[in-house]
C-alpha cells in the first residue's frame, strides 16, 4: 500500500487571473520550475510526470522546456475535475513501485481556451452520451449538477441556506489569502441570496470561478525526506472511484444517483489509513459547485447520508473554529478554479503550517477531486 512511502517535497504556482498573457505551456513550465526550486531538486533528476487527460501541454513539451531528465513514467488521468488527486496517486504509486524516483504532477489551464469548455463549442451532432441530455437544454456542467442538487434538496431537506454556508465560508477564507481571486471581495448572505440564477436551484455564487493559472507539485520517496528543503508532507493514502453503472456528469441512470463516486473512492481511501474521518483536522473538498460539498462530506464519511447539508450549519466549514475547516485558501469558488489542483497545494501548505488560514496543530488533511464524475481523493499527513 501507499502508506507514507512518498512525500510531497515541493509546490509551485503561478498567479491566478483571467486572460493572463502567458501561454498555457509557459504557465505550466513556470509552476513546475517553482515547485522544483521549492523542493531544492534539480530539473535533470525528474524522471516521472503525471497530469490530466484534459491538460493541454504534452509531456514532451514540458520536459524540453524545463530541462527534465530521462522520463521513465508518464501518465494522465481522465474526467476533468475528478482527476486531480488521482494524478498525485499515480505519481506516488510510480515512486513507490520504483517506476521513477522524482515525479512532477501539474495542471495548467486558461479558461478562454476552447479545449477547456467543450460544452461551449460549435454545435455538432451528438453520438455519445450527451445525446441524452443536451438536446433538451441541459448544456453546462452547472445544469447537470443542478439536476442532482434539486433531487438532493427534495430527498434530504437541504436548502439554499446550506449552499450559502458553503459559499460564504470559502469566501471568508479567500479574503485571508492574498493569492485568491476573491481576496478583496467580501460576500454576505444577502449578496448570495440576491445573486442571479444560473441554473435553478443554483445561483452565480454556487459556481466556481473561471481562472487562468498553473500549479505543480514534486514528489519523492519518503526516505529522501531528511534532504528536503521543507517539512515533508506524506501521501498517507489515495484512491480513485468509479461506481458501478456511473455516467459522468449526467449520472441519472442508475439505482441511486446521489450515491456518487465519492462513496467508491472513500471505501478504498480509508481502508489503509491509520486515522478516520473524525481525526481529519482540515479538508480540501472539490467545489466546482457548492452542492458538491455536502455530497462529498457524506461520501467520505464526515457525516451520515443525507446529513451533509446540515453539517455545514454553525460555521462548521469555517476557519478557525469550525469542526472541519474546509477549503482554507478559498477553494474553486473563491480562490481559483484550476480543476481542483489548487486544493492539493493548500493541503500541502496546511501540513507544512503555512496556510493563510492555518489550522492549529493540523497534521492530517483530506483532499478530494470532483464529485459527480469518476473521481479520486488523498489523505495527507505531516
Amino acid at each position: 500500500m501507499l502508506k507514507d512511502q512518498v512525500a510531497i517535497a515541493g509546490i509551485g504556482q503561478t498567479a491566478f487571473g483571467k486572460g493572463l498573457p502567458d501561454t498555457e505551456l509557459s504557465l505550466a513550465c513556470q509552476a513546475i520550475s517553482l515547485a522544483l526550486d521549492d523542493a531544492g531538486i534539480a530539473p535533470g533528476t525528474v524522471d516521472g510526470l503525471a497530469s490530466f487527460t484534459m491538460e493541454p501541454n504534452r509531456e514532451v513539451d514540458v520536459a524540453r522546456n524545463v530541462g527534465l531528465g530521462d522520463i521513465t513514467f508518464f501518465s494522465q488521468v481522465g474526467y476533468g475535475g475528478g482527476a486531480g488527486c488521482g494524478v498525485v496517486v499515480q505519481a506516488a504509486m510510480a515512486i513507490a513501485t520504483g517506476q521513477c524516483q522524482v515525479a512532477v504532477a501539474w495542471r495548467a489551464r486558461k479558461r478562454a481556451s476552447k479545449a477547456s469548455r467543450p460544452w461551449a463549442q460549435v454545435p455538432q451532432r451528438l453520438a455519445d452520451h450527451w445525446q441524452w441530455s443536451r438536446p433538451f437544454g441541459l448544456l453546462r456542467p452547472v445544469d447537470e449538477v443542478a439536476m442532482l442538487t434539486r433531487r438532493y434538496m427534495h430527498e434530504f431537506g437541504a436548502t439554499r441556506d446550506h449552499l450559502a454556508n458553503v459559499a460564504l465560508a470559502f469566501r471568508k477564507h479567500a479574503n485571508r489569502n492574498p493569492n485568491a481571486t476573491m481576496h478583496d471581495k467580501a460576500m454576505t448572505r444577502d449578496d448570495y441570496m440576491a445573486a442571479r440564477w444560473i441554473s435553478e436551484p443554483l445561483c452565480l455564487f454556487d459556481n466556481c470561478l473561471e481562472t487562468d493559472g498553473a500549479l505543480a507539485i514534486v514528489l519523492v520517496a519518503a526516505e529522501r525526506a531528511p534532504d528536503l528543503a521543507h517539512k515533508p508532507v506524506y501521501v498517507h493514502a489515495g484512491a480513485q472511484g468509479l461506481p458501478r453503472q456511473h455516467q459522468t456528469m449526467i449520472n441519472y441512470f442508475n439505482d441511486d444517483p446521489l450515491l456518487g463516486p465519492s462513496w467508491t473512492a472513500a471505501s478504498r481511501l480509508w481502508r489503509d489509513a491509520d486515522f478516520a474521518p473524525a481525526d481529519v483536522k482540515v479538508a480540501q473538498i472539490y467545489d466546482a459547485f457548492s452542492p458538491l460539498i455536502p455530497l462529498s462530506l457524506e461520501g467520505y464519511g464526515f457525516c451520515e447520508r443525507g446529513e451533509g447539508a446540515a453539517f455545514t450549519e454553525g460555521g462548521a466549514l469555517e476557519w478557525p473554529n469550525g469542526r472541519l475547516p474546509t477549503n482554507t485558501a478559498g477553494g474553486g469558488l473563491s480562490e481559483a478554479y484550476v480543476h481542483g489542483f489548487n486544493l492539493v497545494l493548500e493541503g500541502v501548505r496546511q501540513m507544512r503550517g503555512t496556510s493563510t488560514s492555518q489550522v492549529d496543530g493540523a497534521d492530517t488533511c483530506i483532499v478530494t477531486s470532483g464529485e459527480g464524475v469518476p473521481t479520486s481523493a488523498l489523505l495527507l499527513r505531516s
Binding site: A120, P123, Q124, R125, L126, A127, H129, W130, Q131, W132, S133, R134, P135, F136, G137, L138, L139, R140, D143, A146, M147, L148, R150, R151, H154, R196, W197, I198, S199, E200, P201, Q245, Q247, I250, Y252, F253, N254, D255
Partner: protein
C-alpha cells in the same frame, strides 16, 4: 441545423434505434435480447448477462418527474432565446430506474419555457409527447 439546437446523430451506433422510434411517435427502451433487462441509455452489451442481443420495447410513456432545473443564461444562442426554460428528468412508470432527460410543456405543441417553473413538483405524473426539431423528433412531456 436550422434550429441551432444540439441534436443527436440519427445514425449513431447506440441511439439510432431510439431516435427511429421517436420519429414514429414511439418511446422505445432498449432491452436485452437474452435476459430481457431494460437499460437506458442504449449501449451494445447487457450489464446483467453480457449478451449483445438487443430488442426495442415500447414504453407506455407514463412517468413521474424525478428532478428538474430552470436554466438561465449564459447559454448557446438557440437556448438563450428560450431562457428561462425547464429541463426535467423523468422516471418511467414501468421501471422507475429508467430515467430520461426532457422538458415539461404546457401544451404538446408548445415551447419549453411556457410552464411556470414554480409549479413543477417532483413526483408529479407526466406523459410523453413528441416534437420535431429540424430532422429529429424529441420526446418531451406534458402533465398526465
Amino acid at each position: 441545423m436550422e434550429s441551432g439546437m444540439l441534436l443527436p446523430d440519427l445514425d449513431g451506433e447506440d441511439g439510432a434505434g431510439f431516435w427511429a422510434g421517436t420519429a414514429r411517435g414511439e418511446l422505445l427502451v432498449q432491452a436485452c435480447g437474452h435476459c430481457g433487462a431494460w437499460r437506458f441509455p442504449p449501449r451494445p452489451m447487457c450489464p446483467e448477462c453480457r449478451s449483445l442481443e438487443i430488442r426495442w420495447e415500447r414504453a407506455s410513456g407514463q412517468a413521474t418527474v424525478w428532478s428538474y432545473v430552470v436554466a438561465h443564461p449564459p447559454l448557446l444562442p438557440a437556448y438563450a432565446e428560450l431562457a428561462p426554460y425547464n429541463v426535467i428528468v423523468v422516471a418511467l412508470d414501468e421501471d422507475p430506474r429508467i430515467r430520461m432527460v426532457g422538458n415539461l410543456l404546457a401544451d404538446p405543441d408548445g415551447p419549453i419555457n411556457e410552464i411556470d417553473p414554480t409549479s413543477i413538483r417532483i413526483g408529479e405524473a407526466v406523459r410523453v409527447v413528441f416534437q420535431a426539431v429540424d430532422d429529429v423528433t424529441l420526446p418531451r412531456w406534458v402533465r398526465a
